[in-house]
Symmetry: C2
Subunit: 221 residues, 2 copies
Amino acid sequence: MINLSYTEENYLKSIYHLSKGGKLDVSTNAIADYQKTKAASVTDMMKKLASKNVVDYQKYKGVNLSEKGKKEALVVIRKHRLWEVFLVEKMKFNWDEVHDVAEQLEHIKSPLLIKRLEEFLGYPKYDPHGDPIPDENGAYKAKPQVPINEVEIGQEGIVVAVKDSSSPFLQYLDKIGTYIGAKIKVMDKVNFDGSNEILIDNKRTISISKQVSENILISES
Amino acid sequence: MINLSYTEENYLKSIYHLSKGGKLDVSTNAIADYQKTKAASVTDMMKKLASKNVVDYQKYKGVNLSEKGKKEALVVIRKHRLWEVFLVEKMKFNWDEVHDVAEQLEHIKSPLLIKRLEEFLGYPKYDPHGDPIPDENGAYKAKPQVPINEVEIGQEGIVVAVKDSSSPFLQYLDKIGTYIGAKIKVMDKVNFDGSNEILIDNKRTISISKQVSENILISES
DNA sequence: TACATAATTTAGATTAATCTAAAAATATTT
DNA sequence: AAATATTTTTAGATTAATCTAAATTATGTA
């Protein structure tokens, strides 16, 4: 592992996310928007990262991670997600409180600490949002996403996606207090019409129709 | 609390330590040596910190912490020591492995995290080196330092000081593998001559004379 | 007290990361 | 394919933290 600054690590992480794991090239503007910085700053940084051989960059052609850069990005993501588990499980943080702190903790440099932290947490495979935690080699497996109607009574999980992304549907979800990241527990299933009773964020229990439950994908915990 | 950079926090911490808690004025050179930087850099930073009202500084007259600066320094020290306890107690670090990591962790900004961490660790009063952990208000009490000959059999602690600091004595201590920070367990006391059998760093058991045991101060754990 | 020595500050540069505004390259549209 | 719009890069400045070398102030000693 090379010695990268906090800032450089953040750029690599952004490129990783924007390129969906290194699959597609990322534009200067996309990075600038994502990081809330300016395109000119991104160009400068891409030159620097290219000279360190962590990205492949050609003027005007976009950028992507090199193998080396991908590894570095995955280490940071691994750390971020392990710290999130720590914050929720051990420090009793709520989901919406973890992000800012994990953004800081992910840059702590100590391979030993991460090893021990992982052990301490019982080798978790997913973070509190349902995102997979890469192992030391960067390998991970996405958690299966299942529609609510296929979930057993009593099971819970996090909303990770929707099948129907039409405006009326999204508005309906908003109305019932459901969003990507919401915690859902299936309380009951009505055989008669296939509707479900779900508990949202441990707060409100509501009933949703079969049609709705088929279109909300959750990642079980 | 003001928003201070990582660097500014380190300067405040150094001044706190060098001034023994704000008691005496600190010279530019002392800070430069302590931080392994140059005097000119210190002067620049002192101007900056003075403008933020965290230090009292007058050209050529040395510097000390203002009340505000003292509070900030104590927050950082509190965080450092809590993290050290975490690393040793929960992450199974050895004493000599904690410092560098705690230096990084002490700058994490999250009052909630520190509150929860303290609770999680059971409100420890001292860090693994025997140094006191300030509470939220910055209050702390130094741990009593007792000579080895006054310690009960079976008790253990950390070497925190010596009464005799003559060169021959220090050389003797070095020879038997004892140093500030060493872990000592009193295994036996011989009534006949007042000598003690002590276990050093859980490694070697040796016998020391009454005279020696009177001159080594430990902080019990 | 005056001189030499040591400590401290100033002046001017440097590096990393950022920015704005202008120039250049690429994409899109007619 | 030419004209226009968008994206990206370059040029030049800025800020925080640092440095070296020179100038200034303080201290110690004869």
